[in-house]
């Protein structure tokens, strides 16, 4: 069953045509890798699929509902309720501790302060990052930042996890560990996972690969 779908979407930044008519369909519970060379439009595609951006033409559907025509507030609500995102460059709030960063989506979702803090710590523990719970992002290593970012994306038990180069800056053993934790947690949650990566070894963890070239899906490799 298709859970998430883009139909011939196009997106430009000024004169740069980042997406030139991409169509993809992602099934419920699938783990999909989006691969392609640098600048090919992977992050842009992920942002359009997750409702962070809207394409200029084409359509994006989630769970039988068109989402690219929703207003900003409705898309924000959808993201909070159903999606978790690990951004390419972490994007943690620098003034907050790791635990506070992880608790943030829960607080936004209307959960109590204490309960949110407890759940956040449990997720940091699952990500092997409880030891840095009280540190601020500026004090963390690349690997620790990524663990915290993954915990923040998973803390609400999202239906879909979007991860943009979640193991980007890591050496292989540490990267595999973070990826393993992410996929294991997603499996327990029953989440669908969309991972953007330029690393073939990361792509090999997915059920399926979508290759993006010059803003178009070049080959959907099963």
């Amino acid at each position: 069953m298709t859970l998430l779908e883009a139909r011939r979407i196009e997106k430009a930044f000024g004169r740069t045509r980042a997406l030139r008519g991409v169509s993809v369909a992602i099934g419920s519970g699938e783990i999909v890798a989006i691969t392609g060379p640098s600048g090919s439009g992977k992050s842009t595609l992920l942002h359009c699929l997750s409702g962070i951006m809207c394409p200029e033409t084409g359509e994006v559907h989630y769970d039988g509902r068109r989402i690219d025509t929703l207003d900003e507030a409705a898309r924000t609500r959808l993201r909070r309720e159903a999606f978790g995102v690990v951004f390419q460059f972490g994007r943690l709030v620098p003034e907050l501790t790791a635990a506070e960063n992880v608790a943030l989506p829960l607080l936004f979702g209307g959960n109590g302060r204490e309960e949110s803090a407890t759940v956040a710590r449990a997720w940091l523990e699952r990500m092997d990052a409880l030891d840095v719970a009280d540190a601020r992002p500026g004090e963390l290593s690349g690997g620790q930042l990524q663990r915290v970012a993954v915990a923040r994306a998973l803390v609400t038990g999202p239906k879909v996890v979007f991860a943009d180069e979640p193991t980007g800056a890591l050496d292989s053993v540490a990267g595999e560990r973070v990826l393993g934790l992410l996929l294991e947690a997603a499996r327990v949650n029953g989440s669908t996972v969309v991972i953007v990566t330029h690393d073939n070894r990361v792509a090999a963890h997915a059920d399926r690969e979508i290759v993006v070239r010059d803003g178009a899906a070049a080959g959907v490799v099963v």
Binding site: P37, G180, R201, A203, A204
Partner: protein
């Protein structure tokens, strides 16, 4: 599935003799024991035939690298036990002090296919995508293997070895795609 994981290429430059001598540095062993240890401790390497173990031991004995140290009987038939000699030990350590020559696989099968696809069919696009899919599928199988519970450290490393090599091929395929216009020009002139 195991039979598809052989990493035969890395053994082109080393002999069965060296492997058996290496295993005998621990203690004397009989031929069947050597076969079992070879297969268990070098996962991902093509299993050795018992006949080959036997023939190699005879050659090593003739060359003074191993000697018969007795017989063993564990329920089954009586087996000849071999021990390593001083010469044999010297040979192993000499071999371990060497390195494998970094192989310059300039004319790999993938490269040949790309060139011939351009010559005979005018395009390699289809081939590049199909080869990518095949390589990635293989990497998926190996990755799934790595994630099976109770995998040994040896098997994990052997699987990683295969994964890194397939990854190198995939990166080369992507480079080939990006340089295909230059190559096409060159072939047509």
């Amino acid at each position: 599935m195991l039979d598809r994981l052989f990493i035969e290429c890395i053994f082109a430059c080393m002999s069965t003799g060296h492997i058996l001598l290496g295993l005998l540095t621990e203690r004397p062993k009989h031929g069947y024991e050597l076969k079992r240890e070879h297969d268990d401790r070098l996962p991902g390497v093509k299993p050795i035939a018992y006949g080959q173990v036997y023939a190699t031991l005879q050659r090593l004995e003739r060359d003074g690298k191993v000697a018969v140290s007795g017989t063993a009987k564990e329920g089954g038939p009586e087996r000849t036990v071999y021990e390593i000699t001083g010469d044999g030990a010297d040979e192993v350590h000499r071999w371990l002090a060497e390195i494998e020559p970094p192989a310059p696989y300039v004319s790999s099968a993938l490269f040949v296919r790309v060139v011939l696809a351009l010559i005979a069919e005018g395009t390699a696009d289809g081939y590049l995508l199909r080869q990518r899919a095949a390589h990635l599928e293989r990497m998926r199988e190996l990755t799934a293997r790595k994630n099976t519970a109770g995998i040994s450290a040896g098997e994990l490393l052997a699987t990683d070895y295969a994964l890194y090599h397939l990854d190198a091929d995939l990166r080369w395929l992507e480079t080939a795609r990006q340089r295909i216009d230059e190559l096409t020009q060159e072939i047509r002139t």
